[in-house]
């Protein structure tokens, strides 16, 4: 199956291919008055697979939600795929262009796997062949497709959400603990999926506590601490074609 990104680059940033897809400068995000991000600087280049690490509450999820256009900037500036995160229109354009798999899977319990995937694929303007291919690839076609999501295991829910993400073919993948709930085969499948997506031109940001396992496919790791990027090392690359520093 093809994992080429469907969304073209925005006109204002047609040359993003070789530049930073994510640019965050001095970003402050308040959550109920608490600074979930407190002056964070981060840039992510095209084709990177960036791991976000940090303790619980460090701000990893907020970074991903900010990059998804779901969180409002309180201070600082940021752009994703050329869209300004400081404006409502920019956040709306960002949401259309990126794919987010958070802690929640965004599935309707009362609908079957197939009904969920088809609804979200239609909502995301994904093509029918992509939907079928994604379901097949993630192992949620066939008998599983007819099961209501409420009856699925955590891993099957994850696979269904991933099928929706894959069918969407975003340029920027934002994944929050994507391995959670997946079995050994599922984890391998996900890792392969990430490498294929990156090889096809997608950029990926992954928040994970899964030290060791995913390191081989990351181009670098960013440590988030207290709402800022505490450490920003460029890691040696385990995958071919990565940036070696």
């Amino acid at each position: 199956m093809t994992l080429d990104s469907r969304d073209p680059a925005p006109s204002a940033a047609g040359d993003l291919q070789d530049k930073e897809l994510v640019q965050l400068q001095g970003v402050v995000c308040l959550m109920g008055g608490f600074p979930a991000l407190a002056g964070l600087d981060l840039t992510v280049g095209s084709g990177e697979i960036v791991g976000l690490r940090g303790a619980n509450g460090a701000g990893k999820t907020t970074v991903l939600r900010l990059c998804a256009g779901l969180v409002t900037l309180s201070r600082g500036s940021g752009s994703v795929l050329g869209h300004d995160l400081g404006t409502r229109a920019g956040r709306r354009s960002t949401r259309k262009a990126v794919g987010l798999l958070g802690h929640d899977t965004s599935l309707y319990d009362d609908l079957t796997v197939e009904q969920n995937v088809r609804f979200w694929a239609r909502a995301n303007r994904a093509a029918e062949p992509d939907v079928l291919a994604a379901m097949d690839h993630l192992g949620v076609a066939g008998r599983v497709a007819t099961v209501k999501v409420a009856g699925l295991s955590a891993g099957q829910r994850r696979r269904t959400a991933l099928a929706i993400l894959v069918a969407r073919r975003p340029r920027l993948w934002l994944l929050d603990e994507p391995h959670a709930g997946l079995d050994h085969d599922g984890r391998n499948l996900l890792d392969q999926l990430l490498m294929d997506a990156a090889a096809a031109g997608a950029t990926i940001m992954v928040a994970t506590h899964d030290v060791g396992r995913i390191d081989d496919i990351l181009t670098r790791t960013v440590i988030v601490h207290g709402g800022t990027v505490h450490e920003h090392p460029i890691r040696p690359i385990g995958r071919p074609g990565g940036t070696d520093v």
């Binding site: 998804a68 779901l70 409002t72 409502r88 956040r91 709306r92 949401r95 259309k96 990126v98 794919g99 987010l100 958070g102 802690h103 929640d104 899977t105 965004s106 599935l107 309707y108 319990d109 009362d110 609908l111 079957t112 009904q115 609804f119 979200w120 239609r122 909502a123 995301n124 209501k148």
Partner: protein, 240 residues
């Protein structure tokens, strides 16, 4: 405009599909509305009669207050339907999913309100039949009365669904939303209850012409809340 209608139809279809699968309205909201109606019947003795020297048989108080009781039952039932409408979006981050899909916020509002309208029309059909059955309402049927009754129900339910969807979205980010929504919605919908009762009373017992000004007021109320929802839903979703 085409995208807005497309998104509205998609969300409406999804919500009706969820109802077809879960049967919450059929199995819970409708019985709840009928139960309220029956309890009203227990509260007002069917033997209480209105003194009317022109009538051969004095009408019962219960039958004459039916229009108000009917819409009270629909109003209370609507709180469950509206709560359910946003309850399915509160689980598992689906509201974020709708935002991430880039659907037009006005389309999401129209789709969700539209699904509540369809469900409440079904509820009101059952409740109306129940009211005629339980309260022995006797009227002289005519096309004009039927048209007034159906138009009243349509306008009142549209107003309830639009205002309810708007206030549910307003409360969606709050932890206390289940108790907050009735507190917000019931006072706002008091004029709808008044208008719908008056128009239905005209349709059932009075002069049909007396009902249309109330229907116009209901339609204006519905238009106001549909307009407010279309204009403000993006801001409400953004602030969640």
């Amino acid at each position: 405009m085409f995208e807005l209608l497309r998104d509205a139809r998609m969300v409406l279809g999804k919500d009706l599909l969820i109802e077809r699968s879960s049967r919450v309205v059929t199995a819970q909201v409708v019985p709840f509305a009928v139960m309220i109606l029956i309890l009203f019947g227990f509260g007002i003795s069917p033997d209480l009669r209105i003194l009317d020297s022109t009538a051969t048989v004095a009408p019962s108080v219960l039958s004459r207050v039916t229009p108000g009781l009917l819409f009270l039952a629909v109003l209370f039932a609507s709180l469950l339907a509206i709560g359910r409408s946003f309850g399915v979006e509160a689980n598992d981050g689906t509201l974020d999913g709708l935002r991430m899909a880039g659907l037009d916020p006005a389309g999401i509002f129209l789709g969700k309100a539209g699904a509540v309208v369809v469900q409440l029309l079904g509820v009101s059909a059952v409740v109306t039949s129940g009211a005629f059955l339980f309260f022995s309402v006797r009227i002289e049927w005519s096309v004009a009365r039927a048209v007034l009754g159906v138009t009243t129900a349509g306008a009142a339910i549209t107003a309830i669904a639009a205002a309810g969807t708007l206030y549910s979205a307003l409360a969606a980010g709050q932890r206390e939303r289940e108790s907050l929504v009735p507190l917000l919605v019931i006072p706002v919908l008091a004029p709808v209850l008044l208008g719908a009762s008056q128009a239905t009373e005209a349709a059932l017992f009075g002069a049909v012409a007396d009902g249309w000004p109330w229907v116009a007021a209901l339609a204006a109320f519905a238009a106001l809340y549909v307009g407010a929802g279309i204009l403000s839903f993006e801001t409400l979703l953004e602030d969640m």
